[in-house]
């Protein structure tokens, strides 16, 4: 019993028997079915799954954008009722306001939360440095490349020091090289700040190289069918090596791909 309580308090997020049904005009669509999940502080969770499996729906529930049809989504012992700055979201397409420059985009949240001016300046500077964008403060978002935009959007989220960082295929629209650099950046930031991160992806390698826990979802209606504890991200941090070549990595990768493919054969 004591064990139980302790593990409860360590959880940043608890999902219990989560169901989500989209009510449509012609027919209803079950997007999520009986999702159960605990996320502990400092974890880096990657959710993998075929497209249309409800990954984004799950993230939207965690962010507070939509409410589950039944079941519970709890963060720090409170039910998630709406979006706020404790749950930072990095969107697939970077959301930057074209009427603000880079600096003002990053500090937007702090301004809305009425932080003192000098603190805003300092935090903005720190986080722009963290994502490697010092010197671009006065640029407008449309003057930046795709990768740089996503860096700004990362800083914009991180500067609020959210309890939970949600990322919805944040590198899906980037080229391979930029994506690799961004993954490195995220890994290092996560390591430095020990944030709790949940990242959605359909890229098995991305998941394995970043996560401390990989969750594989089934086809619609989505549910978590398998989870893997992984530590490749630590290897990469420590040795800066390419874990992709180890036997362990290749085995897990094969297994995950097999699960996903088996899931979707019926549909294809």
């Amino acid at each position: 019993m004591v064990e139980n309580i302790k593990s409860e308090t360590n959880n940043v997020v608890t999902l219990k028997n989560l169901f989500l049904k989209y009510v449509g005009e012609k027919r209803d669509v079950d997007a999520l079915q009986n999702v159960n999940l605990n996320i502990k502080e400092g974890e880096f969770i990657c959710i993998l799954g075929p497209s249309g499996c409800g990954k984004s729906t799950l993230l939207n529930i965690l962010a507070g954008f939509i409410k589950p049809s039944s079941g519970e989504a709890i963060m720090d012992d409170e039910s998630i009722t709406g979006p706020d700055y404790h749950k930072g979201v990095v969107f697939q397409n970077p959301v930057l306001y074209p009427w603000l420059n880079v600096e003002d985009n990053v500090s937007f949240g702090l301004k809305m939360r009425k932080f003192p001016k000098n603190e805003i300046t300092e935090l903005t500077k720190t986080y722009l440095e963290l994502v490697g964008l010092s010197g671009f403060e006065k640029n407008r978002p449309y003057e930046l490349s795709g990768g740089m935009k996503q860096r700004v959007s990362l800083a914009k989220t991180l500067v609020n020091k959210p309890r939970l960082i949600l990322m919805d295929e944040p590198f899906g629209a980037l080229d391979a090289l930029t994506r690799h650099n961004m993954q490195k950046l995220i890994r290092e930031i996560w390591n430095k700040t020990t944030n709790t991160v949940l990242l959605i992806t359909h890229d098995v390698d991305e998941a394995l190289e970043l996560a401390t826990r990989v969750l594989v979802m089934s086809c619609r209606p989505g549910t978590i069918i398998k989870e893997f504890n992984t530590d490749f991200t630590f290897d990469i941090l420590k040795n800066n090596n390419n874990s992709r070549c180890t036997k362990e990595y290749i085995d897990i990768r094969e297994e995950i791909l097999k699960i996903i493919n088996n899931q979707c054969n019926e549909l294809l």
């Binding site: 700055y85 074209p98 937007f108």
Partner: protein, 258 residues
């Protein structure tokens, strides 16, 4: 769409010069009746004359100023009512439900049809004219504000919530600036529609204004004044539009770059 390059500008100038040239030749050769197509010189003489001596009690600038006064007052009031109302209607479907039937009904009506009513109610002075222009300005500005809010990216709003903004802050700092490009497009359309309506308004009941001047001149077959009036109305129209564009560039430098 790229802006006009130097080449296109020269071509456009060429069009204007050729028309002027044809006009000069045609009138110099006497191919058309002077009463129908005045020669350029007589238009210029008329210009100097009514600049100095005026046309029917008012100088050219006074006629123009009178028209502009009506236009600007109507435009101003339309802008300060249509923009907030349009944004509110875009934001809240219930507010939209209140105003939509009114706007949808009167918008396609020919302005002169309800102008007769306005004249009956308000007389032939400026009140009826300004009201007419107000109505002409209102609909395009309102409609573009509504659609601006409706088509706003959901991520813009969601993202603001996730960095700590509240509803009011989102309206002020996200929705309003996001709509600015479309607001300006709406205002440009408004001014254009109102300007064409202005001339009609002055043609029904007036004793001053650039539109009235042209109509009055036609009664006396003063084609030089008619030509002059049309040229001035054309140039003024272009200048008004350029003016708004200039303000737009100043306030919405990101337009078309998202």
């Amino acid at each position: 769409m790229n802006k006009k390059t130097a080449t296109e500008k020269i071509i456009s100038m060429g069009t204007l010069v050729s028309i002027l040239f044809i006009w000069i030749i045609v009138s110099a050769l006497g191919l058309v009746d002077q009463n129908l197509v005045p020669n350029p010189k007589s238009v210029f003489v008329a210009f100097v004359d009514i600049m100095e001596n005026g046309y029917k009690n008012f100088t050219l600038l006074e006629h123009l100023a009178e028209s502009m006064k009506r236009l600007i007052i109507a435009f101003f009031f339309a802008a300060i009512t249509a923009i907030p109302l349009g944004l509110a209607s875009g934001y809240n479907s219930k507010i939209r439900a209140v105003f939509d039937p009114l706007i949808e009904f009167y918008r396609p009506l020919p302005p002169l049809a309800y102008y007769t009513l306005l004249v009956l109610w308000m007389g032939i002075e400026n009140e009826s004219k300004i009201s007419l222009l107000f109505l002409a300005c209102f609909a395009p500005a309102y409609i573009s504000c509504v659609s601006a809010v409706i088509k706003i990216k959901e991520d813009y709003i969601n993202s603001a919530y996730t960095v700590g903004a509240n509803k009011l802050q989102i309206i002020r700092y996200v929705i309003f600036p996001a709509c600015l490009p479309d607001i300006f497009t709406g205002l440009r359309t408004s001014l254009g529609v109102a300007y064409t309506t202005l001339v009609s308004a002055e043609m029904v009941a007036a004793n001053s204004g650039i539109g009235w001047m042209v109509l009055d001149a036609s009664r006396y077959l003063r084609s030089d004044i008619i030509f002059l009036g049309i040229i001035i109305m054309g140039i003024t129209g272009i200048l008004l539009d350029k003016g708004i564009q200039l303000i737009e560039h100043r306030f919405v430098p990101w337009k078309g770059k998202e």
